[in-house]
Structures are given as C-alpha cells and as structure tokens.
C-alpha cells in the first residue's frame, strides 16, 4: 500500500474563517494547477525501493515509498520538481508534467564513494574573493574541452583564447602570469606540448583532482609571484573504497586504481598512454606529422591520516611527450621536433593547531627536460623548480586570519642555438649560440585578516617578497570588501599590488639581460553577484583595471625593465538551471596596451614610442554552453564560442640578403586576424551494471561546422604573398568509454 502524504486541515467554524477559506478558494482557482502525483521508485535492476523519501523540491513536504516502491504526493503544482533520495543512492530529480494524472517512474542508481571530508579551518563567510570552482565532472561535461582542465578554463569569462593551444591569458595578462599550484606546490610547467603561448594540453589530469579554484584577479596576499591569476588545484583525498577504472578512447587508454589502506590511509595510482594514431586515422589533420603527438604519464599518491599527527599526502607525476609536426612561421616551413620529460612531486601535511587553527606545509617541485629542433633553432632545456609554503589559518567569531611564508628556487639550464632574429627559423639573418644558466630564488611572508560584520566582509593582507636575482624586496598590500545587499546579491571591490619575477628565458648569457627587476601590477576590481554558484540562478559581472610596470623591454641597448602597460575590461558570467536545461553564458570585453618584449620575440619588431596592443589583446569574446539531459541515461551538451581575432604584425615587404629575404614588418600588431568561432557537441551515457560497476560512454564532435579558424599568417619566400595558416584542428570525432568497478 502506498503511503500518502497529507496536510493538516485548517479549522473552520467562524464566518471569518469561512470567508478566509472562500478567499483561499478564489486564490486557489487562480493558482497553478495541482495534481496528485503517484509513482514508483526502483533501483537500476528494476527492484522496487522501500523507504525512499520523495520530496517536493523547495518545500518540506514529502512522501515515503511503500514496500512496492509506490508513493502518492497530493497537491503538487504542474511543473514542480520532485527529488527522490535514499541513503546510499544518488538523489534523482523528476519533473511533474502538465498531465494532471501524473505518474512518475524514478530509477535510483547506487551512489559512488564520496571523497574524504575536506579539512578546513574556519573560513571567512562569505568569502571576500571571487573564485570560480571547477570539478573534474564540470571539465568533462564541457564540450570541446577534450577532458582537459585548461581547455575548460578557457571557456570562462576573462580568459582569452589566442590560438589552438590551452594557454591561459587572463584579463590582458601574458600566459606566464598565471600561478598554478598543485596541493600548494608551484607547477612551473603546467602545459604539455609546450609553446610560447602555453601548450596543447594541461599537465594535470582533472581526474587527479577533486577540484580547481580559479581566481582571475584581485586575489589575496597568500599568493605571491603572480601578476594575473591563480589556479589552485586540489588533489583527490583518501579513497574510502577500492575502485578500479579503465578508460579507452580514440586517443589512448588509461587505467586507475584507488584503495584505502586500513582506516586512515589510502593509495592511488593511474597510468595513461596516448596513442593518437587511431584518432588521426579517423580525423585526418591538414598538418603533416613525421611523428604523431604521443606519450604517457603515470601518477600515484599516498595518503595517511592521524588525529595526532595530522594528514600527509604525497603525490607524484611523471610524463613523457613527443611530437614531430610541420610548422609554418613567416616564410619558413619545416618540422618542429620536440621530446619532453616532466616530473612533479608534491607533499602536503596538515595538522590542527588547537581547535580553531590549521597548520599546513606544502613542499615539492617539478623537473622539466625538453629538446627542441625547428629549423636553425636547436635547444636542450633543463629546469628544476622547487617550492614550499607553510601557513597557519583559522580564527574565531567574525575573524579569520592566515599567516605564512612561501618560496621558490629555480635552476634553469638551456643550451643550443637560436635564430638571431626572433621567429626567423630559416636563419635568414643568421643564428647564434644561446646559453642560459640561471639560478634564482624568491622568499615571501604574508598575512591576511578578514572580518564579517553584518552585511560587510572586509579582508586586508600584506606580503613581502625577496627576489634574489634582482636583489630587491617588494611589499604588496591587498584588500577587498564584499557587501551583502540581501536577496543573494552582493558587490565586491578588490585592490592590490602584485609582483612576479621575469622568466629565466630573458637571461641568455650571449645577448640576454643581466638583471631585470620583478614585474609589477596593480589590480582594481569591482564586481556584482546575484545568486550562488551552486544555485539555480547565478550571475556575476566584474569590471577591472590593471596597471603594469617593470615589464621586460628590449631596445637598442638590450633588455631592461622599462616596459609598462595596462588593461581594462568587463567579464559577465550567467548560469541558469531549468529542469531540462543547464545553460551557461559568458562574455568579456578587453582593452589592453603594453610596451614590452616577450622573450621569444627579441630583435623581431621595430618598437614605436609608447604602447601597443599585445598579442593577447582580444577585444571581445562570447560563449554559451548548454547541457540537456535527454533521459536518465543520456546527456547532450553543446557549446558555441566566438571571439575577435588576435592582433598580428603584418609583413609589408622584404629585403633580399645573401641568406634569403628578410621581412620588413609594418607597425607592431597593427592588423587583426579574422574572428574566431567554434561549435562543439558531446553526448554521454551513464549506466550501472549491477551494484558495483558504472560505465560511461561518451562521444563528441569538436568544431562541428568545420570552421577554419586562423591563428597565424604565413608568407611566400619573398614575402610578396600572405596566406592564413591552416588550422591543425578541423572537425574531429571522438568516442570512448570508461568503466569503474567499486568494491
């Protein structure tokens, strides 16, 4: 017998009450139609589930299923949503249709194991900072990202896409200005298949993480050595049950294993082999490869938790990549060959320091080895980067505080030959020896305090850093205020000063800089938010202005720190969830000017007086992402993105020399590439097999309309003709599946 939810009956004796009842009836006639909803809840094998709570979403009214899984819930408005929940199962939403005799069939799937409880000291509530958080699921559910975290971040407002890579250019800042942390340890090489504009994949697999926090500006004093943004990646916690996952797709295969060790430990391991030959067979690339991009990576982590000693997590990652691809640059056509090794290790220890404070120490480093040949460019690169941070966080009542110290040590050794003129891989103007043996360290201390008083949350912080190579000490004050306007609306103002050491690539012993000051920036951010990120409706708009100073700049006397610049813009992010649609809209406008020289562009262009648009100035970008649940099993997602093309410097002629034609460049970045546009589709199916096995099948079409986006211009040998460089990523189909077994 089904169990019926009932409402208490209002007493009705007096005329007044009769009148009220009558009024209620009249109001009721005008109110949405209500229905008595019946239904049945079963598990994935079809067996009825007893004791399931079926709640009318947004209210405290609910029914409980009987032994046959049946339930009845009276007085439910059409269009309302019911949520069926049972401990051990994933909650399931069901929408009541316009049919008054609604009958719902709900299937609950066995819930996966949750990660261990995150440990936090007292957090400021609400936070004064504006942070976007992504989980691995968010990444794979975003079409066109190829399950890559960096590509998913590219869909956020404030991040400009300037080529086919995954480099994060944030609010008019260079890709090198984003600090990437993994469990508190700096990831100095966060991209695979590295290029001057980032790389073609993120180095960290999103499935190694429990989430990523991305701050696009105005971040607090706890983060140093970064001018533009912070990407803070949190590794997975201690596994609470044994889980084995095998994934296979057109681009490769991977396997992972996780298991608890006793009641307080855990271990994780994963291997991934990229074998893209099948992918390229299905999706022929217009680019020529003499060695298809490929490689492997292996990772593992060990976690131990003790109430007395705290928790310790050690994560290691090893990657190998190679590629041989034809490249067009100016009038040069040739093959780029690259072999890369990357190792990362991160250890994090946390322990309570009294009931309200949490002590954290992170230590680790990454080691990067790369050999590259492209025309006359031949380089062997080795870089070792070690970092550590220690912090104490906590508070009481309305106060929250954070104090700590951090530091980096970097050893860079690069040896080889490079074109005398930046980008001249044919060596028309000659080549020269290139040698970097750069040692540098930085150490910083920081303190942040925040206080909530009524609707006001204020945060103030200060950090001081010592940059060894430039023998300077910098002091960065930062502050932000968040005011709750009520109704889930708030405004935020943030201002701060930021410093970052210049790239070691500037310190070539042959022609490079001897000393460069730490680069600096000042951020001013004004934001308005409505709703909460996890709610049904959320919107955020932020306007900002950034001023840059002490940027590396090359003139006839060589490199100096005389560069400067600014950027200003606005970012909009809107997210709305309906029962059959999850829609995200984003947009950005940006105006940026700089006077600076990227390391790889030395001696390439004639620089004018004043500032110019940097390569990453994208005046506008717009994106829309829609996720549609087709059925309980299938999910469809689509995305559309468009943006202004990036600026480029046109060749306006050439001078014949003994070695060939040397280009004559027009005004720097005086022309702009065509508009970028892309549509991606993906579909996934999730099913359970028995009680312990989950299978996910996925398929995608990237660049659905096959648009040939242009990210570069190439020239004929005498620079008399110009042509757009063909995209290496035309329309591409992808299929794969992932099977997880939990014990």
């Amino acid at each position: 017998m089904p169990f019926v939810e009932s409402a208490s009956q209002p007493p009705g004796r007096s005329r007044l009450i009769e009148g009220m009842v009558l009024a209620l009836l009249v109001v009721g006639l005008m109110a949405p139609q209500t229905a008595s909803v019946t239904g049945r809840v079963r598990d994935a094998t079809g067996l009825p589930l007893a004791g399931v709570v079926v709640t009318l979403k947004g209210t405290d009214r609910f029914a409980v299923t009987g032994d046959n899984g049946e339930f009845v819930l009276a007085g439910v408005a059409t269009g309302a949503t019911l949520v069926a929940s049972q401990p051990g199962f994933n909650p399931q939403d069901a929408r009541v249709s316009n049919d008054r005799t609604t009958r719902l069939e709900i299937v609950l799937t066995v819930g996966g194991i949750r990660e261990s409880v995150a440990v936090h000291a007292a957090e400021p509530d609400p936070p004064a900072q504006s942070v976007t958080t992504l989980t691995a699921l968010d990444v794979v559910r975003t079409p066109g990202t190829q399950a890559d975290l960096m590509r998913a971040l590219l869909t956020l407002p404030g991040v400009s896409q300037i080529d086919e890579g995954t480099g994060l250019f944030v609010r008019g800042g260079d890709v090198s200005e984003v600090l990437v942390l993994f469990d508190g340890v700096v990831v100095n090489h966060p991209y695979r298949y590295e290029t001057p504009t980032g790389g073609f994949r993120g180095a960290i697999d999103p499935f190694l993480t429990s989430g990523a926090s991305f701050t696009t500006g105005g971040f607090s004093a706890e983060y140093g050595n970064s001018l533009s943004a912070v990407l803070d990646l949190r590794p997975l916690g201690r596994p609470q049950s044994q889980q084995t996952t095998v994934t296979a797709g057109l681009a490769g295969v991977s396997a992972s294993f996780a298991s608890p060790l006793g009641s307080r430990g855990g271990v994780r391991a994963a291997v991934n082999r990229s074998t893209p030959s099948l992918l390229f067979a299905v999706n022929p690339s217009p680019s020529d490869f003499d060695r298809l991009p490929g490689g492997w990576d292996a990772s593992g982590s060990v976690t131990a938790e003790s109430p007395r000693l705290g928790s310790l997590r050690v994560t290691g990652l090893s990657q190998r990549d190679h590629v041989g691809v034809e490249l067009e640059k100016d009038a040069f056509v040739g093959f780029l060959h690259s072999d890369t090794r990357h190792e990362l290790i991160a250890a994090k220890w946390q322990r309570a320091a009294g009931p309200r404070w949490l002590a954290t120490i992170s230590i680790g480093g990454d080691r990067f080895t790369k050999s590259t040949d492209l025309g006359v460019l031949l380089l062997d690169e080795q870089e070792s980067h070690r970092s550590a941070r220690a912090e104490l966080t906590g508070g009481g009542g309305p106060w929250h505080a954070l104090v700590g110290m951090d530091g980096d040590v970097v050893d860079t050794d690069i040896l080889g030959h490079v074109p005398q003129r930046g980008g001249d891989f044919a060596g028309i103007s000659g080549s020269e020896r290139f040698e970097i043996a750069h040692r540098d360290w930085r150490a910083g201390v920081f303190g942040v305090a925040s206080r909530s008083t009524g609707p006001l949350t204020a945060e103030a912080g200060l950090r001081a850093d010592r940059f060894d190579a430039s023998s300077e000490v910098t002091v960065d004050p930062r502050a932000s205020v968040r005011i709750d306007l009520g109704g889930e609306r708030s405004v935020r103002v943030a201002i701060g000063r930021y410093h970052q050491g210049p790239s070691p690539a500037y310190f070539d012993r042959v022609r490079g800089a001897q000393v460069l000051s730490a680069m600096s920036a000042t951020h001013l951010v004004l934001g308005y938010e409505r709703g909460t990120p996890a709610g049904r409706t959320f919107g955020r708009i932020e306007v900002y202005k950034k001023w840059y100073d002490s940027l590396p700049f090359e003139d006839d006397a060589g490199f100096s720190s005389d560069g400067y610049g600014s950027s200003a813009g606005a970012d909009v992010y809107l997210h709305r969830v309906w029962s059959r649609l999850d829609l995200t809209l984003g947009g950005s406008v940006l105006h940026a000017r700089r006077r600076w020289t990227p390391a790889e562009q030395r001696d390439r262009y004639t620089t004018p007086a004043g500032t110019w648009s940097p390569d990453f100035e994208i005046p506008y970008s717009v994106q829309a992402i829609a996720r549609i649940p087709i059925s309980r099993m299938f999910n469809l997602a689509g995305s559309w993105r468009t943006a202004a093309g990036r600026p480029f410097t046109p060749a306006i002629g050439a001078v014949q020399t003994v070695g060939g034609y040397e280009p004559m460049w027009g005004p720097i970045n005086s022309d702009r590439l065509p508009r970028y546009e892309r549509v991606d589709l993906s579909i996934s199916a999730l099913t359970t097999i028995g009680q312990r096995t989950t299978a996910v099948f996925f398929a995608s079409v990237d660049n659905l309309v096959g648009r040939r986006n242009v990210f570069e211009m190439a020239y004929s040998a005498d620079y008399s003709a110009r042509r757009p460089v063909k995209s290496a990523s035309p329309r591409a189909f992808y299929v794969g599946c992932s099977i997880s077994i939990t014990r």
């Binding site: 004791g51 051990g88 409880v117």
Partner: protein
C-alpha cells in the same frame, strides 16, 4: 550537598518524564515503532532498524505538529546513526545516513532548543563522522564538543548525555581534551542513571548496552581485563546478539 540530597536530585532528574510537549501528542503508532526500533538495535537486526526508520519517516510525512516533529527527527536520526555502524552498510550509505542524521538533529534542536538528548546525539553523530574520517576532526571536533556542552547545560544528569560525553572523552586525543579517567567517570555515572531510569520510560530510552560496552573498552585500555570482560558480559545481558561485543570487543580483549 549530602548524599541523600544528591540521590534525590538524581531521582528527580531521571524519573521525571521528558517534557510533556515532546511525548503527549505522538501518533498512536509511536510506541510500537520505537519499540521495534530498539528491539532491532539490540538484536543486531539491520533490516529491522531500516524498517523502523522507514516507518518513522512515514510518521513524519504525515505532517506532525511542530512539538512532536523534533522527537520524530531525533528518532530517525538515531536509527540512521545506528545503521551507519553496521558493517554491512556501504561507505556511501553510511556517509549519507550520518549527513541525514546531522541535518535532522540540527532541525530537532532548532524546533526544540531545550532538547538535551538532541544535542547529545548530534555530538555522537559528529563523533562517528570523525571516526570514519579522522582529519574531519579538525572541523567537527569543536562542533561535537559544543553540542555536548549544550546538552550538559540543559540536562547534566541525563544518562544519554553522560554516555555521549563519556564516549567523546574516550575517543578524543588527549591533546584535544580527551581523558580515559574522565571517560570512565562519565560512563559510571551514566550507568548509575540508567539503573534508576524507569523501564517504562518512553523513547528515547536507549543506552544501557552502550554504556557497558564503552565502559568495558575504557577498562580494557586501562589494563583491567577482568573488569572489562564483566562490562562486556553486562552489555551482552542487554543485547545478547551483539556481534560488536561478541566478535570484536571480546576477542580484542583476549588478545591483550
């Protein structure tokens, strides 16, 4: 205070029934359902606890008045708390049950801010969460302490409050306020109060078994095997089928 006055105070505390508002308007099925729940708990009958929890949910779905909703939420949370320690329950279900129990107990003490037993069980729920994820103790430890402090303020001689305090003292590391000595004192006091609690007391009347089982563990850790064994046997007198005492605690004691 003289011994007689102390005894009188204790009797007044434990024999006076729970506030009338909590019991007077409970549904007719209430005694039967809660009786079945406690019978299933003591009989190590997970399916029975699950059934009783479902029956309690149905009583709650019927839309009880506010004054009885607090006790209904408490009873559902109690059933979930008990189920979560059953080895047959998956880690996910365990976590969901404890989350549900936490939410319900917070609701219960919000509906009835004087509900000492609600605070005491909430402290126990936090304790179990910490047990399953020790690092969460950094966050939940103070919350557990705050809940049991509030329970003690309201009903310092309630045996389930004393039991919860004793379990907490036993499981908390010394550096965070745990103490074997304090745990033993609390559990002895709880046993004293249970001894004078009316057998006809309506739900919640659980805890005798737990007090003996936990006191046995305290004594075992103190090295008094004979006394520990005696406490385990007393626990088995209350719950003869307890797999936890028979197959976990007793064998562990013999290995010492």
């Amino acid at each position: 205070m003289t011994r007689t006055m102390c005894l009188a105070a204790i009797l007044v505390t434990v024999l006076v029934p729970a506030p009338a508002a909590r019991q007077s308007s409970m549904p007719p099925d209430w005694p039967q359902v809660t009786g079945q729940l406690e019978q299933a708990v003591l009989g190590d009958d997970a399916a029975g606890v699950r059934r009783a929890r479902t029956d309690l949910l149905r009583l709650l779905a019927a839309g009880p008045a506010t004054d009885r909703a607090a006790l209904l939420h408490y009873a559902i949370a109690y059933a979930g708390w008990r189920l979560s320690t059953n080895p047959a329950v998956s880690a996910r279900e365990r976590d969901d049950l404890l989350d549900d129990a936490e939410t319900r107990l917070k609701t219960a003490v919000k509906l009835d801010p004087e509900f000492a037993e609600g605070y005491a069980l909430l402290s126990g729920v936090y304790g179990l969460k910490i047990n399953f994820s020790p690092m969460s103790g950094i966050l939940l430890g103070p919350r557990s302490g705050g809940a049991i402090d509030r329970a003690e303020q309201l009903e310092p001689e309630n045996p389930r409050v004393l039991l919860s305090r004793g379990i907490g003292k036993f499981n908390t590391p010394a550096m965070f306020g745990g103490s074997l000595k304090d745990a033993e004192a609390c559990l002895w006091r709880a046993i004293d109060r249970f001894a004078v609690e009316s057998p006809a007391k309506p739900f919640p009347a659980w805890g005798r078994f737990d007090a003996h089982a936990w006191l046995g563990q305290v004594l075992a850790r103190r090295g008094d095997k004979a006394a520990a064994r005696a406490e385990y046997e007393r626990a088995l007198e209350v719950a003869p089928k307890s797999g936890w005492v028979q197959f976990v605690l007793m064998p562990a004691l013999e290995k010492k």
